[in-house]
């Protein structure tokens, strides 16, 4: 049988490494080899505040070169909102002009070319937590650390929302059931909830209301996700969507039951504290949403499909169905749409054998 690579999302035990990196240089609080919990602070930094520019020379009606001699404070001075920065006088002092600071911060620069003053607002502290319960594999000096752990990793196909750590809980008993929004209560606050086949708009809205940490579902209507985000989004990039709850879809948009394997893996994690991220980025450094729980070690997932291996179809008339790989014909074939491409022959659970474009098949 010909060999063929196949895409597929992780679902099982993996040795996972996550780079925890500050956006700017700061202080690293851990050392190599140290064991950390998911919520441990590994690094912190002061994020420089935003800049505020003041067209001082123009406001004082003087040339930029004259600005320095009108200054009341020097570069590096800490100023409050309303602090006098510079002043000028005309007509023997009858007309006096002043420039005051529009914000609290530090005077960073006085330009004799443009006549602009630059103020830097106060810095904000950013704290980085480990996210994974594991060992510090490597310290990145002044930036953060690489955390490594043997974990149960389940990747979703789409997600949005921030990183979250909380207990995994269930609202359904089988992958084809849908939890209703009424199933949520106060006890679900901060928890990671598996809701089954489909997360409705009402369910997502209720989850936000009750401050549920994360919702894991097989699918959701595209419109429900748009409503949750509060605006149209491109599902290819959701990294900037940071409003909770975090959502992880394992199958896609529409109404699709959660894959059996994913469902079974999640079931094993019930009650465990898991780390969840909704960040999705389909290009330029692919990121898929994920659910991570501490467990044992396993081999890296193979990327080539082998005969009889279980696969799932992710497009077309058989979207969502699973089966066993029968063959990988070497020649291109015409499929139902008239497109000619390389295909896999898959035997569905019903016994029906179908030819499916190779990119439309994933390892189950």
């Amino acid at each position: 049988m010909s060999r063929a690579a196949v895409s597929g999302l992780a679902c099982g035990r993996h040795l996972v490494r996550r780079v925890r990196r500050l956006p700017v240089e700061g202080e690293v609080l851990v050392h190599a080899g140290e064991l950390v919990s998911a919520t441990a602070e590994v690094a912190r930094a002061e994020l420089p505040g935003g800049a505020e520019s003041v067209r001082a020379a123009a406001l004082l009606r003087i040339s930029p070169k004259e600005l320095a001699r009108t200054m009341s404070v020097g570069v590096g001075a800490q100023v409050e909102e309303g602090t006098l920065l510079a002043s000028s006088r005309e007509l023997l002092g009858l007309i006096q002009r002043q420039v005051r600071s529009p914000c609290c911060g530090v005077l960073e620069a006085i330009s004799s070319i443009t006549g602009i003053l630059r103020l830097r607002k106060a810095a904000t502290r950013v704290s980085l937590f480990a996210y994974l319960p594991g060992a510090v594999k490597e310290v990145i000096p002044r930036r953060g650390a690489i955390i490594e752990a043997d974990v149960e990793l389940i990747q979703g196909i789409f997600g949005l929302g921030p990183e979250h750590i909380g207990p995994l809980r269930w609202l359904v008993d089988d992958p084809n059931s849908c939890a209703s929004e009424d199933a949520f209560d106060e006890s679900h606050r901060d928890a990671v909830i598996v809701v089954g086949r489909c997360a409705s708009a009402k369910l997502l809205s209720r989850a936000r209301e009750l401050r549920v940490g994360a919702v894991v579902a097989g699918s959701a209507q595209g419109q429900s996700i748009v409503e949750l985000a509060g605006r149209e989004i491109n599902p290819a990039v959701t990294v900037e969507e940071q409003r909770p709850p975090t959502v992880v879809l394992t199958e896609g948009f529409g109404e699709m039951a959660m894959g059996d394997r994913v469902f079974a893996q999640l079931r094993r994690l019930e009650g465990l504290i898991v780390s969840v991220s909704g960040a999705t980025q389909i290009r330029a450094g692919v990121l898929r949403p994920e659910i991570i729980a501490p467990l044992g070690r396993d081999d890296v997932v193979a990327t080539e499909l082998r005969q009889a291996e279980r696969v799932r179809i992710v497009r077309g008339d058989h979207f969502g169905r699973t089966g066993a790989l029968v063959s990988c014909p070497a020649q291109v074939m015409e499929v139902g749409s008239g497109v000619r491409c390389l295909v896999f022959e898959v035997e569905l659970e019903t016994g029906l054998r179908v030819f499916v474009p190779r990119p439309n098949v994933e390892r189950q």
Partner: protein, 605 residues
């Protein structure tokens, strides 16, 4: 490899590393003629877990090796060079747009002058312009600083001021950058590359203002005088920095750079090279669309002027949802022959976005992809026409022989003057039937008068563009013989005629036989005219209708055939809008069948 050795090469392996797919082709001299002989492809591997573009390159070359049945790669996956005893290749070349291509931010003083020239230079160098900030429309400095803080371009282009003119405002722009400490996409620690192509008198002050966080490169002013534009030096510097900095940061590019025998070109830059050659060869205005997964690039050579625009948010996979949002559900749905509710349509498009490499498996899915493509190309073309305008009193030198004066701001892209449309990108090139590709292009671009419609057979314009940089003869030969497929010639009368009334008479003479008839307004008809066949066409429009020589004036000339023959399109320009989805579906079904894109029975459900 020495330049002379590359020029003497007879077998080239060329790859184009796209966002999703890496495509390899083999070009070789066969019986004294340059031909594209074999091809292969594989998924691009700049992303995790591979994170090495050369893995995908080798897989594509391996795929090509299997297709041609002779050894190209050694056992350990290295290219066999030079070609000996029919094995291996003489030279290897590549283009790339993987990893998001070259992303640039442009800052200028006046939006319609220097900022526009800066944008043109960046686009001409193959960049995706993520934002344009102009001094004359900066609303609040604080907002702009925040905007610049959030930006993560690969490179920044700073322009503005005539030589000897405004200094202060240009330095203010540099001051904004310094305040924002804009960092490049590739890293926090490395200084952000800035190309300064403004008033030369401001260069020193700009350098002092920017400080250590930026790596400044000063080149000649893009607008040394208000009425003079010179883009060449800026384009060259951007290209140089792209190769030195951006490509080197991308996963595996240092290895790819070591593999190639000539510099890697950004994909759009390579396509632009080939379009210029096509315009020269065919002696007409030419427009080309390259619709990719993430972006849609438009290139035109109109009235001897070259323009390129990138619609960074319009594409068939990563950006499919953006097309839906920008065009609207109704605009997509009008191209479907069957009803589809909002939820199903939205879900299908969003699923394509999150699984970008899947291919349509059913007719319904194919219709939806082709509907999306029509809207993506239409929107991108609208943007291109708005961009490809001139300013009053401007003298321009854009790398073409002519220096010209224009009388006012108007688009150079005038549909009646365009003699050739070329479609490329997977959705067009790999459309199962030529008629589907032809109708997609006609619906998207709404050609006027007499226009040849062609497609890039297997999307090899990028490959030929980089080949042209070392062997133009080979690139031109393959362009005509293997790259461009003439789909049809489209005749589209323009005017106002009542629906169902005659709008022109036609006579098509080929091989001594003449086919004559009358076209009525609203009709879409296809006449047979085979590939490679030339015919004499005579058109006599009714009063008020223009087919190229003015209202009511006849047109006579030679036209070239193709698999879709001669298309007579009297649907009107713009294409008619329909009151209800049902009437739009009916019209779409009728048009699809009229052109042979589908049979009537295929559209029955």
């Amino acid at each position: 490899m020495k330049e002379s050795e590359i020029e003497a090469s007879e077998v080239f392996a060329i790859t184009d590393c796209g966002s999703t797919t890496t495509k390899a082709i083999l070009i070789e001299r066969v019986d004294g003629h340059w031909r594209q002989t074999y091809r292969g492809d594989a998924q691009t591997t700049v992303e995790a877990p591979s994170e090495d573009v050369t893995i995908g390159v080798r897989a594509a070359l391996h795929d090509m090796q299997e297709a041609c049945g002779r050894r190209i790669l050694s056992e350990d996956g290295e290219l066999l060079r030079p070609c000996r005893d029919g094995e291996g290749v003489d030279a290897y070349l590549s283009t790339s747009s993987a990893g998001g291509g070259l992303q640039m931010l442009v800052m200028g003083l006046v939006r319609r002058l220097s900022a526009r020239s800066g944008e043109a230079a960046a686009l001409g160098a193959g960049a995706i312009v993520t934002d344009v900030l102009a001094y004359d429309d900066l609303s609040s400095m604080a907002k702009q600083v925040e905007r610049l803080r959030q930006a993560r371009p690969d490179m920044i282009l700073l322009v503005g001021g005539e030589d000897g003119g405004a200094v202060v405002q240009v330095v203010e722009l540099a001051e904004l950058l310094a305040a924002a400490s804009t960092r490049s996409r590739t890293g926090e620690s490395a200084p952000t590359p800035v190309v300064f192509a403004g008033n030369r008198d401001a260069a020193q002050a700009v350098s002092e203002q920017l400080g250590e966080g930026f790596e400044l490169h000063v080149v000649k002013n893009v607008r040394p005088l208000v009425e003079l534009e010179q883009l060449g030096p800026t384009r060259e510097k951007i290209h140089e920095l792209f190769l030195e900095h951006v490509m080197q940061q991308a996963p595996g590019y240092s290895r790819l750079s070591a593999m190639v025998d000539a510099p890697i070109l950004p994909t759009p830059s390579a396509v632009g090279n080939m379009l210029r050659a096509a315009a020269k060869e065919r002696r007409t205005d030419v427009v080309c669309v390259d619709i990719g997964g993430a972006t849609t690039d438009l290139f035109s050579v109109c009235a001897d002027r070259y323009h390129r625009t990138v619609s960074a948010n319009l594409g068939m996979s990563y950006s499919a949802t953006n097309v839906l949002v920008e065009a609207g559900l109704a605009q997509i749905r009008r191209w479907l022959p069957w009803p589809m509710d909002d939820g199903t349509l939205r879900n299908a498009v969003m699923n394509k976005t999150i699984r970008p490499t899947t291919v349509p498996d059913t007719m319904e899915e194919l219709h939806l992809e082709q509907a999306l493509a029509r809207e993506a190309m239409r929107l991108a073309y609208d943007q291109h026409k708005r961009f490809a305008t001139d300013l009053a009193g401007r003298v321009s030198e854009r790398g073409f022989d002519s220096i010209f004066r224009a009388q006012g701001e108007r688009s150079f892209v005038r549909p009646m003057d365009i003699g050739l449309f070329i479609g490329s990108g997977g959705v067009v090139s790999h459309a199962p039937r030529h008629a589907q590709a032809a109708l997609m292009l006609i619906d998207s671009f709404e050609p006027e008068g007499v226009t040849a419609m062609a497609k890039d057979s297997i999307f090899m314009m990028p490959h030929l563009g980089v080949l042209a940089s070392v062997c133009e003869e080979a690139a031109l030969s393959v362009l005509e013989h293997d790259c461009l497929i003439d789909l049809c010639t489209c005749v589209a009368p323009v005017g106002e005629v009542r629906l169902g009334r005659p709008c022109l008479r036609f006579a098509l003479t080929a091989n001594g036989a003449t086919e004559q008839g009358t076209l009525v307004w609203g009709e879409l008809r296809r006449l047979d005219l085979f590939t490679g066949q030339w015919a004499e066409l005579e058109l006599v429009p009714v009063k008020g209708v223009n087919v190229g020589h003015g209202k009511g004036r006849p047109w006579q000339g030679k036209v070239r055939g193709g698999p879709v023959g001669l298309v007579l399109d009297a649907r009107g320009r713009p294409l008619p809008a329909f009151d209800t989805p049902v009437s739009a579906q009916g019209a779409t079904r009728h048009w699809l069948v009229a052109l042979g894109a589908y049979t009537a029975s295929e559209l029955e459900r």
